[in-house]
Each structure stands twice: as C-alpha cells, then as structure tokens.
C-alpha cells in the first residue's frame, strides 16, 4: 500500500510499504477513505516530537471501511447501538487508543489508558507514567503505524471505533476522529457557566470547534485570538466569535478591554508547543527551542495565565511534549487559576458528537480548505505549515 512516511524535519514522502495485518485478537484492519493532517502532525513534521523515526507512517485523524476483524472483535462495547463489527462497516476512529478495560478507560479517561502503549517504559521514564498510544505519533506514544495510508491496523477495535451511517459524506464525519472532540473537551474542561466569556487561542480546526462547543455549553461571548485574517474570518463566520489579531494589537490588553477589565472567565489553548509570540519573547523561545534548551514554546500559556480573570480556568488542548521556560506561576498562583489539560478522550465524546451531526446541529465540513490525493501529502504538509493558500485543514484521499 501507499503511506506517508516521515523522513526527517520538514520532509515527508509517500512510499510503498507492506499492508497491515491483524497482530492481536482485538484488531481490525480499516481501509481508509479520508484522513486529515492535524495541527499536531505539524509538530512531528517540524521535528519537535522526540522518538519519531525515519520511515514512520504518520497521521491520526481518519475514517474508513472495515475490511478484516480479529477473532475477539465481537460486539462493539461502547455507544448506544452496540452491534457486531463486520467487514464493510463504515467507521470513524478516535486518534487515542484505549483498551476499554483498565481503570482509566473505565472511568472514561481514554487517553490515559494503561494498556495500549507497548513502549510504556520509555514514557514512564520521561513522564513518570504511561498514557495511551496515539496512531502515528512517535514511539514514545506507542509507535503504532499512522493513518495517512491506504490501510491501517486498529487495535481494541471493539471499543476503538464508532460506526457511522453510509449516507453522510466523509467531510461531515471525519473530524469526530480528533479535531471536534479535542475542541469539545477543551470547552468542557472550562466548566463554562451561563454568561461566561471564553477566549480561545488558535483558530484552526480545534480552536473553531472549541468556540462552537463553548456556545453549546452556555458561553455568552467567545473571543478568538490568531494572526491569520482568513482564520479569524472563519471564527467570526462559523463560530460567532469576536476576534483579536495579535500581530496588530496587544492580545492581553485587547482581552481586558473586551471583558470590562476582568479578563476572560476561561481560556483555551488550541495552539500548543509551536506557538508564536511577538517581539523579544518570541525571539527568546524560538532561539531556546532551536538550541534545544527548551522543547516547547509556551507563549500562549504565558499569555493565558496573565490574561485570565482571577479564579478562572485554563484548558490546554494544544500539544506539549516536554519542558517550557519562564512560566509566570506567580500570576497563576496569586490569581487562583485552575489548570486542566490532556489529550482528548475520544471514545467518551464521539457518540455524542456523531448525534449532533446526525441531528443537523453541527456541520464541521466548513473547516476543509484543501482536499488532496494521498500522493500529494508532501504538498499538503508544506502549505499547512506555511499557512499558504489560506490553508486551514487538509484532507487526504487515499
């Protein structure tokens, strides 16, 4: 089959690789019909995620058709319409891999699964504990082959897929795999009260879905912070957000003005470790990261901590991998802020979000700006990273 293989920083190539096979009894093989390039794939593309190896198949946001199931894949154990999973079924697959039986999966914290990462020792050394594996997201996080390919092996398929109807186009369903539940979880972590103002850093797919979700949960006002006019336009148009372009105005001061001097009640980081700042601070982070003196650029984190109202909540959904410098902990401490974060618990949210789509309350297809054949993946990565051609979301068609 053809697959997108990582070659080194800022280089991917579509190569011919062997087809995946069933390796464990609960596996299924899925023929991929649509797979997206996620913002967090850019961290891998850019070479910022440790333990990615040359030749690794990347990608974790995908859907497709079941072509083969292992002998232990019987009834789907999650969801309202639990049914037998059979070849031919159309499914969306969450990016985090959960076993369904450990203490964390059973408490609906799927991205903290104890059992899906075969390289747990590596993560245990770095993070002190093991978290769930993620498709195509480094050997630290399991080393599973990714989804930007024609076929993929899905472990724990009985709890690891959601069946979807066949008469709805891929573009409406694909983002249940990752971007929508990530944005939704960001809003949920904020514990939004009616009337709250929620600020969202980053107006990519996750940020946009976080804004939409914040309104679903009772927010009165949503403010989007980004530097690309086309993204801010989308935030205005599809998420009814007020917008701040941080390259034009000081985001912190603007947020104060827009919230009566209080600051937003909740702040969501939908950017992660490659955040851009302005001026000296940005120079500091960029330089330290290049010199490998810090692994992540925490510009958004710093800005959120200072901007948030007293007693407010920060939800971090953008990916961080290691160490950050110069965090204004004094601000966070004295203002009594709450920090909540984590990889999204896909299996917890997917059925609910599918229902929203089936009911016509949510149509996420607006985020797709580019649809390319899998063979053009390298071009897709390039324009997404460089934000060329107004690129917000690339969907690859194997």
């Amino acid at each position: 089959m053809k697959a997108v293989c990582w070659q080194g920083a800022n280089e991917v190539r579509v190569e011919s690789v062997p087809d995946p096979t069933i390796l464990n009894p609960r596996d299924a093989i899925i023929k991929i019909t649509s797979t997206a390039i996620c913002g967090s794939d850019l961290h891998i593309y850019g070479g910022y995620i440790p333990t990615v190896q040359k030749g690794d198949i990347i990608g974790h946001e995908f859907m497709g058709e079941v072509v083969e199931v292992g002998r232990e894949v019987n009834n789907l154990k999650i969801g309202v319409d639990a049914k037998r999973l059979l070849p031919g079924d159309r499914v969306v697959v969450p990016s985090t891999i959960g076993c369904g039986n450990c203490a964390y999966c059973q408490r609906d914290m799927w991205s903290l699964c104890d059992n899906s990462n075969p390289n747990s020792w590596l993560e245990e050394k770095l993070f002190g504990n093991v978290t769930s594996a993620i498709y195509g997201y480094s050997h630290l996080l399991g080393g599973y082959a990714g989804a930007q390919a024609e076929y993929i092996r899905v472990p724990f398929a009985d709890v690891g897929v959601v069946k979807v109807p066949s008469d709805i186009p891929d573009e409406k369903l694909l983002f249940i795999s990752d971007a929508i539940p990530t944005g939704y979880m960001g809003a949920e972590l904020c514990d939004i009260q009616p009337g709250d103002t929620v600020a969202v850093w980053g107006s990519g797919a996750v940020g946009l879905f976080a804004m939409i979700s914040a309104y679903m949960m009772g927010a009165e006002k949503v403010i989007a912070i980004d530097r690309f006019p086309e993204r801010l336009e989308m935030a205005k148009k599809y998420a009814k957000a007020e917008v701040i372009n941080y390259e034009e105005v000081n985001a912190g001061e603007a947020l104060k003005e827009m919230t009566g001097g209080r600051g937003p009640d909740a702040c969501i980081d939908a950017v992660g470790l490659e955040a851009h700042g302005v001026g000296l601070e940005d120079f500091y982070d960029q330089t330290k990261q290049k010199l490998k003196l810090e692994s992540d650029r925490p510009h958004v984190l710093r800005e959120m901590m200072v901007a948030c109202r007293k007693g407010g909540t920060l939800a971090i959904m953008g990916v961080y991998g290691g160490f950050v410098d110069k965090i204004p902990l004094g601000a966070a401490f004295n203002k009594g802020l709450t920090f909540r974060m984590g990889q999204m618990h896909g299996q917890k949210y997917m059925h609910l979000l599918l229902q929203q789509i089936l009911d016509g309350k949510l149509d996420p297809s607006f985020v797709v700006t580019h649809q390319l054949p899998l063979a053009e993946a390298a071009h897709g990565y390039h324009i997404f990273q460089q934000k060329k051609d107004n690129c917000v979301k690339v969907v690859l068609k194997p």
Binding site: V17, P20, P25, I57, D114
Partner: protein, 231 residues
C-alpha cells in the same frame, strides 16, 4: 493451631502458647539462618518457616530487612509493583499456573510443573545457551502470596516472591514482585545481561506491564510486524 474437636479445644490456650513458642524459636532460627545467608531465598525460607515471626517481620517491612541483609554480597535483586484492575484471586490463579508465565515473561522460554511444589524453568539466553533450574515453592497463601527458590544444581541460583494485595478503593490489586539472582563466580554482569539485557529492573517492569495488559485487555499490545517505510 490446627487442632479441632472438644478435647483439644479445652487445652487450646496452652497448646497455642506452646506452638507460639515453638514457631517463634523454630522460625526465629530459620530467620537467623536466612539472614546469615544474606539472600532473599534465606529470608523467604525463614518467612515460610515462622508464621508468627513472619507476622512480626512483615509489619516491620520485609523488604527493608531483606535489603539490609542483602547489602554485602550484592546479588542482583529487583522489585516492581503494578496495580491491575482485577480481583486478587483471578491474578493469583493465572500466576500460580507457572506454565503460563512465559506468555508475558519475555526472558522465559518455558516452565514445566512437576508437582504441587516443584517445577523446571528454562530461561532464554543468546547462542542457545539456555539457563535452567528446578524451583520449589517455599510458601503459598491462596490469593495472597507465592514465594519460590531454585534448588541445588541451578545454573543461576535465584528466588523470588509475588504478592497480591487489594488496592485502596476500587483500584484493583497491587501486584508486587521481588526477584533475586545469585550468579556464581565473576561475570555477573555478563550473565545478567544474557538473562535480562542491560536493565533487569526495566525487564521485570515490562513483564509486569505485559501481565497487566493480558489480565485487563486480554492481549498484549504490540507493534511488532506492522508496516513501516524505509528506515
């Protein structure tokens, strides 16, 4: 302690007193012997021998005492604990069938059980130089504790125990494993590397993780054999 029936019941206090002393003295002697051997096997033998002493000892942390005892000869000793989301009896049952251990213990090739006490173990080593030994169960408490040790003639003298303890709340069972290897003569690190690679502690930890995966998820997560591009 095992007396039943009316006649013996009447004399129970005295008999118990007698037995307590007997086991204290006997057990104490075994503990002393064990500690003087400065090995986990010695301590385990001692613990198996002295019920009451065992109680006292465990309350004072068996491990710490064992570690202190083991300080001088420096045999290779590893300990690891993992919490498994299953009741103790289920885990105990699986483990007690020693022949199933190679399913998750990567360094083992096979275990053959002879009878209730004795078994034969073969560990993998490079160049077909397998390491073999006969092991004997020293103490076996249902759903709680199993200890064992190699008997005379082992290629590598070794001993260990596994303990199953209910975790607080609804968190399953804490499974603790302590293993010790006494490698004769020099070349300890070479022999050990044969058995466990560079880091025995990590290997045992991985074995326990695989045990947890098998018990909870019904399979051991793997990426071996999956496709990849040119390295």
């Amino acid at each position: 302690m095992t007396s039943t029936g009316d006649r013996t019941t009447k004399t129970t206090p005295e008999a118990n007193e007698m037995e307590r002393w007997a086991s204290l003295i006997g057990g104490g002697a075994m503990v002393l012997t064990g500690l003087s051997q400065r090995s986990l096997k010695g301590v385990l033998t001692a613990l198996a021998g002295g019920g009451l002493v065992y109680q006292g000892l465990t309350k004072q942390s068996t491990i710490q005492q064992a570690q202190e005892a083991l300080g001088i000869n420096k045999p290779i000793k590893v300990e690891k604990t993992v919490t498994i989301n299953k009741p103790a009896d289920e885990l105990y049952r699986y483990w007690h069938n020693f022949e199933q251990l190679p399913t998750f213990m990567k360094h083992l090739q096979s275990v053959k059980v002879y009878d209730a006490k004795r078994s034969h173990w073969i560990a993998k080593a490079p160049l077909a130089n397998n390491v073999e030994w006969d092991a004997e169960i020293l103490e076996d408490r249902e759903n709680e504790f199993i200890s064992w040790a190699s008997v005379e003639g082992a290629d590598i003298d070794n001993s260990g125990f596994v303990r199953f303890k209910k975790a607080p709340g609804e968190r399953g069972t804490e499974v603790k494993v302590v293993l010790e290897y006494n490698i004769p003569g020099g070349g300890i690190s070479a022999a050990l590397a044969k058995l466990f690679g560079e880091e025995p502690e990590q290997q045992i930890g991985d074995d326990l993780r695989r045990f947890k995966m098998l018990m909870e998820a019904g399979e051991i997560a793997t990426t071996e054999g999956q496709p990849t591009g040119k390295r």
